[in-house]
Amino acid sequence: MEAFELLVYGFGVLLTWKTLALMMLGLVLGIFVGVLPGLGGPNGVAILLPLTFTMEPTSAIVMLSCIYWGALFGGAITSILFNIPGEAWSVATTFDGYPMAQKGQAAEALTAAFTSSFIGSLVAVLLITFLAPGIASFALRFGPPEFFSVYLLTFCSFVGLGREEKHKTLISMSLGLLLAGVGMDTVSGQLRMTFGWSELFRGINFLVAVIGLFGISEILLTMEERLALRGHAAAISLRVVLRVWKELPRYWATLLRSSAIGCWLGITPGGAIAASFMGYNLAKRFAADKESFGKGRIEGVFAPETAAHASGTAALLPMLALGIPGSGTAAILLGGLMVWGLNPGPLLFVEHKSFVWGLIASMYLGNVVGLVLVLSTVPLFAAVLRVPFAAIAPMIVVSCAIGAFAIQNAIFDVWLMLLFGVVGYVFKKIGIPLAPFTLALVLGNRAEDAFRLSMIGAAGDLRVFWSNGLVGSITTLALMLLFWPLISALWQRLRRATSS
């Protein structure tokens, strides 16, 4: 019951006019960002982050997380009305959402999408409320070896579980870790990989890289594709909302299954993309008439949306409890914490109670307010998509430049952002995944510090990573995941050999 009391305390932190106003502002900005082509969750949060630099941390994180909720809701609008997934995780939503819009059921599809997003997030937030404090207090006992093994597990699971080519994941990750190391070494104070170039002494800022990789490169890609926007009009009436909600209980199994998948994949770095596809495919597999999927079936909207949003929200759990983000957007929020002078990790729950519980309370409130807001303002935001891209593109470029400059007041960072924009464009086109890069860049220094502190503590004995049951099993699991492609290939060859 302690979590409940703390949650009430969190609502107390939240309920000031200023915070509520920022919340609304964040939601509106977020939906806006989610609807615009070429922007979405992570980019939107990264670009709008500078707005929060001068705020106190609680207001800042509340606004940022509301931008995130808004962007999640907004992504569904473009998928259903325009058949353009605003995000990779809304791809599965287009399968049945767009056919529904074609059949004139756009309002039903949108209501279904928003409602299931709400349910998915709610399940994940409940999980965070009751699980995160426990995990954090357990993690308080962690020393450097335990932390390093958890970081290792995060990195290795990308290699082992990712769908991309393994060597490309490895390239992306090692490049991110290397760039994280540029500048002053935090343990010895030595400069490294700067080649005497004073602009590099500060190091390469994570957020600058993210704004370039996601914002600028997305503009380049969108320009190349030259999207012709042809959308369906939609206005949601209360009658439609109530009709869809009345049907909800019939789909309890789908909703529950998708929420569970989402939470699991959000906490482990499997991500919302995998979750949405898995949610959709499983719903299809369990359905009696599989053929009706893809032709505008409401369950085909419920399943992926619930899973994607449960996953997007659950990704915040490891970020809050361990300081390890479960998704790209969570990584950016983590970058924000550091800008505001907070040290992410289990100590956050002890040292900054009002911050943590304010954030968790804002997840509840932001979701409810967001649902109401998005249901009532769909026509307005759908109109945004009719604004020509030629007007939107330069505005996004300007917002990116503002974001990149504001982080350290350096013109150099604006050029760096541009460079990362081009790199991101090329990487995306040749299939080098960007998520491992982002994660490595934000966690690199902490992972290295944990490794070196463990080594100093153990006088250079690598066996410290197997020194007790906990750290040993995490390290072993990490190595197994890393070599999983090799292990499974060997296993299959062995089986083939024995059967023949």
Partner: protein
């Protein structure tokens, strides 16, 4: 937006194949890995009395990066008989440059004119020249956008951006 008749993307010749770019990127990464490995070796990649030196961790990472790049090159070379997708077609590349070049100009201008004037020029110019939207609409949109940005960041949120002669004239 009255778009001029253009060749359709499928007819436009490919500028490079995805495989060629893939190999070029891997080579560049390999070179970077070599450079970083050398620098970290110079910094010290071994162990001393206090534990691993500053270059230890990044040195081994650059080895991993190098090996993964070599693997990528070998893989693409071995598959070279299979035709590769075009990386980008000429018409697409032209559109990419249509946004990339103005962005570079914007970053340059921002240093002399300040961010807000530069963003006015970028938005107005891009809308009118690339988007072929009427000049008055472009200028008006750009003006509203730049002023809104100025009010949001400079006045409401205290985020300081590079400013130029115009802002100085207005007393900011």
């Amino acid at each position: 937006m009255p778009a001029a008749p253009e060749e359709s993307p499928a007819d436009s010749p490919a500028v490079a194949s995805t495989r060629a770019i893939d190999i070029a990127v891997s080579l560049a990464l390999l070179a970077l890995a070599g450079l970083l490995a050398f620098d970290n070796w110079r910094t010290g990649m071994g162990w001393d009395a206090t534990g691993p030196q500053a270059g230890y961790f990044p040195f081994y990472l650059s080895l991993i990066l190098g090996c993964a790049s070599v693997y990528g090159i070998a893989k693409e070379l071995r598959a070279r008989r299979v035709p590769s997708e075009p990386f980008v077609r000429r018409i697409q590349l032209r559109r990419v440059f249509q946004v990339l070049l103005p962005t570079i100009a914007f970053c340059l201008l921002m240093q002399w004119l300040g961010l807000y004037v530069a963003s006015f020029l970028l938005v107005a110019g891009f809308m009118a020249l690339v988007g072929r939207i009427a000049w008055w609409k472009s200028l008006l949109t750009a003006l509203v956008f730049s002023v809104a940005m100025f009010v949001t960041f400079e006045i409401a949120f205290d985020v300081i951006m590079p400013k130029g002669p115009l802002e100085a004239l207005l007393g900011f």
